[in-house]
Amino acid sequence: MRKPTIRRGAALGAALALVATMTAACGGDDESNAGQAELGQDDVLTITTFSDFGYDKLIEEWNADPDRPFTVKMTKIADWDPWKQTLTQDLQAGHGLTDVVAVEGDAMPQFLADGASDQFADISDPSLEDRWVDYAYLAGQTADGKQIGYPTDAGPEAFCYRADLFEKAGLPSDRKEVEKIFETWDSYFAAGEKLVAELPDTKWYDASGSIAQAMLNQAEFPFQTADNAVDVENAELEEVWDTVTRYSSTLSPRVVQWKEDWTANFTNDGFATMPCPGWMFSNIKSNAPEVEGWDIVNAFPGGGGNWGGSYLAVPAMSEHQEEAKQLASWLTDKDQELAAFEAAGNYPANIEAQQALADANATDPYFNDAPTAVILADRAAAVEPGHPYEGDKYSDILGLFQTAIQRVDEGTSPDESWATFTQAVESLS
């Protein structure tokens, strides 16, 4: 029998070629990462944001512009926490990230630490130094002056409240009159006890976690001392812990922020107040589009506080760092930050944009025509700079602290939960 040598030879060759390409594909990857590549008009630059940055329209406009230098493609991730995991993992792996990445402000310190900051491109630009409010700008800079992030927004906090529920419970509901309630934490919790006594199906705030976050943002050294030594056994943190866990069973709906039960409470009168940085506005609107009665008070218990505010950064692994920097700079310029405020309520970190908002005296019909621009400007002025001190492990410990509060909400005793928390903090080092 004649053997079909040719066909066998072909199969053999194909197998060898397959092996060769597989090996080549695995070996060649590293080299291509080194160089920077220029982008043509139809080449795509990628960006990832989380939650709502209000960029949809801006990017549509950018791509519709016939003179655009390149095309932009945005990936949106629903929440910060899963994105933080992906971001951390891909930074350590050295590949997989988009050309521009959005980073939540609380996590910035850990990316500024030695070693970590090498994973980001230096996007310092002397001409931009006066573009953003100082505290936001400097929080995106390493100790030796390398800028790794441009501030997209700031998170000065006001309080959002349900005027209709306040009325039902016999509390003042007018935007001016309720300011008394939100003067101090004591007056705030006292009013809460009154409301839950009148309305048994409604809790005072949206989640224990959000009140903890609000109180933490007023502390000076909640988790780490100025030299980045971890210290969670301090009076400030104890105060936050005691307060939040004390009211867990009475004023809190005991749900986790961003999850199903939390979302459901927006539409079933589950709670009456919540700390409200500008970016929270769009969350309320999308979770409770039909609910009427939301309003915003120009006050915050215990002074002020900043919750969140994010950055656009360029990972060192990007092959288009120049273009990425260009896009990040454009998105954080005056007009674009104003557009983002309009789209998502993200209060600009850009000084000119803040000024423009104050001049325009923007109001929001959803929140009973509340003068949102003025309120957020006032709230921004009330923020004590440098509070809280955010060390390199701030974001990690914050996550563990929120988890500890969740345990108490779910019925674990505060002491037991605290012990688990300190144990978990220890294993971070």
Binding site: R8, M22, Q85, Q110, E260
Partner: protein, 328 residues
């Protein structure tokens, strides 16, 4: 290279003492073909396996003895067995271990039992048999992520359908995300939803291979249907049962998607008190943390390997015992 030590194909072998005739090019080619092509055919698999299987395993074993600077691009200095010590002493790891075992038992045992019962029912002359058989496989087609999202909202602690039904019939709602056993049950139910149908079809195939004469003989001997099931059906499908049990054991040790998407904890710790963190979630979280991420994850992985090998050995012993009994 003229000396050939290995015996060639029979037709080219020559008697001792005589000079072997010169082979033609075509003959040589054919000789090489029979000798080397089998090796070449399997080479691609081993190359790919080496690249994506062996290399990562060896490298992870190597990594597990090092530290890792926060957000550093490469590993730091060696630390000996410190990573193993950390994982073994970590109370979270202990919890994850028992969670995995618990979820595994709650999913695999009912799964195999229910699958066998459904398969036995489908094996009867039912009207619209094909339709019934296809429909048991339907949940398997649903993506695990979709399953987890659907069950996640069914089992939501306050707004979930399950608790609303419970409350409607006067029972207290169950804290699906904070009670350890309840959370295992919820997760196991997702696994069961997805895999019972798959196992049913496998067992059904085994059932149909049983010679019908056995049943006739049993019936003539006066065995009732239930007796037939226990004394004819079950012994006949023992090898298939073992296959189903082993695959569901492997699946059980690797369970990840369901608990991860079921999680209400924002740090994905598998519940605020690690109630349903599984071993694979532990590895995943370790590799995502800022502290010695990959070395600790690698150490945890190798500990899990040892655990799985232990379970496999146990399985093997059980199998032998069962088979020995079957042959008696």
């Amino acid at each position: 290279m003229t000396t050939v030590h290995a015996p060639g194909p029979p037709e080219t072998r020559t008697a001792a003492g005589t000079t072997p005739p010169r082979l033609t090019w075509r003959q040589k080619l054919s000789r090489w073909d029979t000798r080397f092509s089998p090796v070449l055919y399997v080479v691609p698999f081993f190359v790919v396996f080496g690249l994506v299987g062996v290399y990562p395993m060896v490298y992870s074993a190597y990594l597990s003895f090092f530290s890792w600077p926060r957000f550093g691009p490469t590993h730091g200095p060696g630390v000996g067995f410190a990573n193993y010590a950390h994982v073994l002493a970590d109370p979270v790891f202990h919890k994850a271990f028992w969670n995995t075992v618990g979820i595994f038992l709650l999913s695999s045992v009912p799964q195999v039992v229910i699958a066998t019962v459904i398969a036995a029912m489908l094996d009867t002359p039912l009207r619209g048999r094909t339709w019934w058989r296809m429909s048991v496989l339907l949940p398997f087609v649903v993506a695990p992520a979709a399953t987890a999202l659907i069950f996640g909202s069914l089992f939501a602690d306050q707004s979930g359908l399950v608790n609303e039904v419970l409350r409607a019939i006067g029972l207290p709602g169950i804290s699906w995300h904070s009670d350890r056993l309840a959370s295992w049950t919820a997760i196991a139910s997702m696994v069961n939803y997805r895999w019972t149908g798959y196992n049913t079809l496998i067992i059904l195939a085994a059932l149909q291979a049983i010679p019908r004469q056995l049943y006739e003989a049993a019936a003539i001997d006066g065995a009732r249907p239930l007796q037939q099931f226990f004394h004819v059906t079950l012994p006949s499908i023992r090898p298939t049962m073992l296959f189903v049990i082993i695959t569901s054991t492997i699946g059980g040790m690797q369970i990840f998607t369901e608990p991860r998407l079921f999680d209400t904890n924002l740090q994905f710790q598998g519940g605020a008190d690690y109630q349903y963190q599984t071993l694979t979630m532990y590895v995943f979280n370790a590799s995502n943390s800022g502290t010695d991420p990959y070395p600790r994850a690698a150490a945890a992985t190798w500990i899990i390997v040892v655990v799985i090998v232990g379970i496999a050995a146990l399985n093997y012993l059980l199998t032998r015992r069962l088979q020995g009994r079957g042959e008696r």
